[in-house]
Symmetry: C2
Subunit: 433 residues, 2 copies
């Protein structure tokens, strides 16, 4: 049974994702209508540069006044693909006030202020969907919010940023240094002109905050996510990982504490064994492991960014919001009833791989081992290598057993104070075992 009055959609933003959303809405209009049960009509497109030629979009739909568009009163669904905090936040809440459900791809905003947006949606009885905010086309938000709604998720671990994965993969396969790999990523369009959000881990941290909140039914803001980027990962780190049978990936890790009373969320580069499925995630692909009590270990893999994949996620949400609108229903809202606090990084249990430059003389290993013992950190393996260089230095590589991150960083601090330790060449966590 098909309604004839079309559902009206306002598109905020018409960049890489927005233009693809508009294109598919036109080329696949019949399919969308059949799946929704009513035709959908692009009723307006808010842009910053109205003079730009936008193929396939009726120029009469273009406006620079996004606020007026969402306030029109006849808009059923607003698709927000502008990004950033403002004006996106105000536009979304205005949309709720004026009767529209919202589909957003805005990870930064959701990670910063998701609870307030959910509250506004609930107050006005509207939908807020955001599958596209995490890992592009890979269904993750819906599986976590809905498929696993009857299960208890204990861990989410994955590669959620394509740019950094491309760079690290390039460093791993070609032996290139960080800058060289970044240049290639930029040249190929995998990195933006200002790559800060990606390489410093802000993008992955926003996704980690969103995933942790959904997975553990609590609230996690981006500021509560521990974050290290990949700018200090060196070719030597990658070579060192290789010697251990590992590779280096930027991981987002959300965990429920062993006692179940708190959660942690963190983003940092880590060594993972080559045998781990995440080690073989190449180029700009994303992959996320979800460990749940009853379901066991699930993995989701696919393109984590790009216009078409992100548009696919946006349109899936558009269909859902339209169906709900027709059925006068709303989809799942925020579920944050556990109110589990987010513990600091020091409470995380992890392993360290530490490379030290030490004086090449007897007794150094004993000194170093004593520091570890004093901090209560147990050593897994040590590799000592005399460099036979004029400075009389040797390399000492220590891999620890699992310990509190606070104890591990305390150990590093104490090592720095030893006379025989000339420098800490690198520290990297080891995960996935």
């Amino acid at each position: 049974m098909m309604r004839t009055r079309p559902l009206k959609v306002a598109l905020l933003g018409c960049g890489v994702v927005g233009s693809e959303v508009a294109r598919i809405m036109t080329t696949h209009a019949d399919d969308l209508a059949a799946r929704i049960g009513a035709p959908v009509e692009l009723a307006g497109v808010a842009v910053r540069r109205p003079s730009k030629v936008r193929e396939g979009i009726d120029p009469a739909l273009i406006t620079t006044d996004a606020t007026a568009l969402v306030k029109r009163g006849d808009i059923d669904v607003v698709i927000e693909v502008i990004g950033g905090i403002e004006p996106a936040r105000t536009l979304i809440t205005t949309a709720f006030e004026h009767g529209a459900g919202v589909v957003s791809a805005n990870k930064a905003l959701l990670a910063e202020d998701g609870s307030a947006l959910h509250a506004a949606a609930e107050k006005h009885g509207r939908d807020l969907y955001y599958e596209a905010a995490v890992a592009g086309a890979i269904p993750l938000v819906r599986p976590l919010r809905e498929s696993l709604a009857g299960d208890k998720v204990n861990r989410v671990l994955g590669i959620v940023n394509g740019t950094t994965n491309f760079i690290l993969d390039k460093m791993d396969t070609s032996g290139a240094g960080y800058s060289e790999a970044l240049d290639e990523a930029t040249a190929l369009g995998y990195a933006e002109a200002d790559p800060t959000a990606d390489v410093e881990g802000f993008d992955a941290a926003a996704k980690a905050a969103i995933l942790a909140g959904i997975a553990f039914h609590t609230r996690v803001r981006i500021g509560e996510v521990y974050r290290e980027g990949i700018t200090e990962v060196t070719a030597a780190d990658i070579a060192s990982a290789r010697r251990m049978g590992c590779t280096v990936k930027l991981l987002a890790i959300c965990e429920r504490a062993a006692d179940g009373r708190s959660v942690t969320a963190r983003v940092h580069p880590a060594m993972i064994p080559l045998s781990h499925p995440l080690a073989s995630v190449r180029e700009a692909y994303n992959a996320v492991f979800v460990e749940a009590e009853a379901a066991g270990q699930l993995m989701f893999y696919g393109p984590g960014a790009g216009g078409s994949p992100t548009a696919s996620a946006v349109l899936g949400d558009l269909v859902a919001v339209c169906r709900n609108k027709i059925g006068e229903a709303t989809g799942p809202g925020e579920s944050a009833y556990t109110r589990l606090p987010v513990s600091p990084m020091g409470d995380v249990v992890t392993r360290y791989h530490i490379s030290l430059d030490v004086a090449d003389k007897p007794g150094v290993l004993a000194q170093v081992a004593t520091v570890f013992a004093e901090q209560g950190v147990s050593i897994d393996t040590v590799r000592q290598q005399s460099r036979q260089d004029p400075d009389g230095e040797a390399s000492l590589v220590v891999v620890t057993h699992r310990a509190l991150d606070a104890a591990l960083s305390g150990t590093v601090e104490a090592l720095r104070k030893l006379d025989t330790v000339r420098g800490v060449a690198s520290i990297m966590r080891v995960e996935g075992e």
Copy 2:
């Protein structure tokens, strides 16, 4: 805001999956209530053997009269984990008539008669959810029905039966023959006493029918799925696959034809390259690739069977159906508007790996090659090996380029008629390239 009147759930079947569903409903009652917005109460459990001790289930809830249970009139959701066609079908439709939504894990019934069930659900305005019917805990039905609802799926390819994957994996890693590997699977509980449904591919074919229907928005019944099991896969086939850099997997493959006017669905053993992600799916795990126009290639991986994983999927659906019930809404129904017909196996384009026993004398290869040419099948590689045995036989292994399955089977038929071909030792399709 929590409703206080509990939602009442009737559980039909209390075997491996049902007992786990009942257990989690009890142990995680608070979480389920918080996520649904109302408590859920197990109101009755229909079983065949009431005398069996069922830990954690109030004996007063046990009944052998499933029909009376679903007709009670106060049941909000019926969970059907009996399996098989009848009485499951009648119980489900009776549940719809008496006001209940249904969560089912019954792949055989859905693949046989899914459309009629959906029609009954729609007629009475009820929900029919069945994530657990395909690939256990792996979210596949929901991602295909909802996340990809705005995209165009062109192909679904995967390992959807854990038993056969365990057997083939065992044959591959240990060199064991089929019977030996089946015995091990049975001893470890991966295969049932009567393994027919698994090893003959009926279970995978049911899942393929369900997946193809959802993916292509059409109707596919199990009888329309081409099906070959793994009982004739030999240690020699696996060794032969190895020599080609491949392994053997039982694949379910659903494809939209190149012209978009029909679909195909098939289940058969196939050689796939070791570099393909499906090649590394071990033991009883499942993994499914979905290729969609905008999303690109997605992969879903996890435990495809077992009490807990299947219960996780059932409970996720239970939460959804309960939420819909409270919101007086229904979830997505059947979407079969494309009405694409299912083409026969002969229309599938694939590749063959053919092992022939031939007379060890000059001119045989020329004869064989002529047969391929006459059938319009192009040869990729040929390997000829004299066995220097008293029978004067040689082995000839031919791998073809892509061709219509009808032409490939026509070729095999013609080869059998050649005097110099003493026998066709094995035929296997090659996929995943």
